[in-house]
Every structure is written in structure tokens, then in C-alpha cells.
Amino acid sequence: MIDMIINVTLLAFLAITSVAIVRMTNLFAIVMLFGIFSLLSAGLFVVMDAPDVAFTEAAVGAGISTVLMLATLALTKNRQKPYYAEAPHAHRPWLPLIVVAITGGALVYGTWDIPGFGDPNAPAQTHVARYYIENAPLETGVPNIVTAVLASYRGFDTLGEVAVVFTAGVAVLLLIGGRRSKSIVKPKSEGEQDET
């Protein structure tokens, strides 16, 4: 019962936050709402007994992403241009409304066939999950099965993930990080930097 209340509350807040994000034009407030959205999702993951995912969502989604988006905002303007006020509507609003309603209805209809949360007979649980649960502590000696799967059984995947993170860093350096090394050498620009 208490789980139900927490779930409904968190989901309601998620929905309110999404609507607020869509309707707002102040980008600074939107970035803050993104952070709140991630934090609420992290709370949902905790309720669903997935602390590893909640950890990542809270640290990356609510923490680092917010800081990075704020840093981006510092380079741009923090107000969205109201483009819809200038251009006339290309089509009537009921056409997208029908598309959204049909898609949403199909998705809701699809949820009737989804197995219940944590159902041991769900197709996702019957493939290799049973093997991991039975053998991971014996074969790796690691009590946290998530870590055992991530680092040992699926070591190749994780190697690829780290390579992706590394590639992202290299890409950012290539695109916008090039002149950092030059400005370190010049000490004279330090005085004006303190004011920003």
C-alpha cells in the first residue's frame, strides 16, 4: 500500500514536471526542472529495488547533466525564442492531437500484455537471469549480482561502454576544448577571468 502511494506520488510529480518543461520558455528554469525530473526518476528506481540504476540517474541525470546544461546556457541565451508567435501554424492542431491520441491508446493497449512487475515467469527473467542469480555468487564470489554481470559476464559490453565515454570526451575536446591548453600558458588573462 505504501509503495503504491509513493509510486503514484512520484509519477504524478514526473507528469507535472514534464508538462511544466514543455510549457516554459525560460531555459534556466527548464534545466532545473530536468534535474528534478532525474531526481524523481531516481526515487522511482529506488522504489523498484534498483539502487544501482538510481545511483547513476541521480549522479549523472540530476548532477552532471544539470551542471553541463548550465555551462551551455552560460554560452547561449537563457530564454527560448518564441518562434511560434511569428510563424503561422502550418497545420491544424487536431491532426497532431489525433496522432498522439492513437499512439498513446496503442501504447496503453500494449501494457495489458506486459507481465507484472517482478514476475519470475516474465520472458525477460527466464533466459539468462536465472543462471546469473544461481551461479554469480558461486562463480565470481561477488555478492552484488549487478556488478558481477556488468564487469564479468558482460565484460565486453562494459569495455565498449567505457570506450564510448572515452570517445565522447575526445569528441568534446576536438570540437570545443582545443584552445584550453593555449590559455593556460597565458597568465595575463587571469585578472579578467575572476569577474565572470
Binding site: 539502487p51 544501482d52 538510481a54 545511483f55 547513476t56 549522479a59 549523472v60 548532477g63 552532471i64 551542471v67 553541463l68 555551462a71 551551455t72 552560460a74 554560452l75 562463480e139 565470481t140 564470489g141 561477488v142 555478492p143 552484488n144 549487478v146 556488478t147 558481477a148 556488468l150 564487469a151 564479468s152 565484460g155 565486453f156 562494459t158 569495455l159 561502454e161 567505457v162 570506450a163 565515454v165 572515452f166 565522447a168 570526451g169 575526445v170 568534446v172 575536446l173 570545443i176 576544448g177 584552445r179 584550453r180 591548453s181 590559455s183 593556460i184 588573462s189 587571469e190 579578467e192 577571468q193 575572476d194 565572470t196
Partner: protein
């Protein structure tokens, strides 16, 4: 940014705690929730907090950019190197069983090293991206 006493005091109190928590998440990931990805992000969050409160230049004195680039590569090299080590010891790539005298010991060592590589790369890359974005506006 104007120096703010409350921010300085709170940040100086929080940053060591964040770093200790990052190390806990890193090395306790085998037993509790956590692991290299989360620990790397939490660790970089500590330094980003430092940069936000004390300024970008002070943060770059602690970890210069060229060291970050080396660290980002080093983590990936550690991960891939563990795989090469298992190859040389006669196993399959990333088959940790050959690393120790027993299967459990080898798996423990392998997972620890691999997670360490993940943590180093993630922390360094997050800081690289932050410094790149934050340093661009003033160049």
C-alpha cells in the same frame, strides 16, 4: 565570482565527504550498489563543486587538463590491459579466472581492476567535458 563565505565553508566541508563516498562506491561496488561508473561521476562532482565555488583556475591547478587526458586514456588502457593479461595467461579475452590462483580470487581481482579503469575514465572524461564547456565562455 564574488567569494561567498557560506559557499566556501560548506563546500570545504562537503568535498572531502563526496570524495570518500566516491571511493566507497568504487571499492565497495562488489558488495553494495555502485561501481566504476557511479563512483567516477561522484568523484568528478566533487571537483566540479570545487570549480564552481573556488573558480575554474583553482580547479585546474589541482588537476591540469593534460593530466586529465592521460587519465581518461589510462582507465581504458587498464580495462583493455586486463583483457590482454588474461590472454597472455592462457585464458580468453577478459576471462578473469586465469588472473588468480583460484577462480574466485581471479574474478575478484579482475572485477576490481576493471571497475577501477571504468572509474578513472569516467571521472576524467566528465571533468574534461566540464572544463571544455565552462572554459569556453571566457577564452
Amino acid at each position: 565570482m564574488k567569494p561567498n563565505l557560506i559557499l566556501h565553508v560548506v563546500a570545504k566541508f562537503l568535498i572531502p565527504l563526496i570524495i570518500v563516498f566516491a571511493l566507497y562506491v568504487q571499492f565497495h561496488g562488489d558488495f553494495g550498489p555502485g561501481g566504476g561508473f557511479q563512483a567516477g561521476v561522484i568523484f568528478s562532482a566533487a571537483l566540479i563543486l570545487y570549480a564552481l565555488v573556488f573558480g575554474l583556475d583553482a580547479a585546474e591547478k589541482i588537476i591540469p587538463s593534460h593530466i586529465l587526458r592521460i587519465l581518461a586514456s589510462l582507465g581504458l588502457v587498464i580495462y583493455a590491459g586486463v583483457g590482454v593479461a588474461t590472454l597472455l595467461l592462457g585464458g580468453n579475452y577478459l576471462d578473469y579466472n586465469t588472473l588468480g590462483s583460484t577462480q574466485i580470487g581471479g574474478q575478484h581481482l579482475g572485477i576490481l581492476l576493471v571497475e577501477l579503469g571504468v572509474g578513472i575514465t569516467v571521472a576524467a572524461v566528465m571533468l574534461i567535458i566540464f572544463f571544455a564547456f565552462a572554459g569556453r565562455g571566457r577564452a
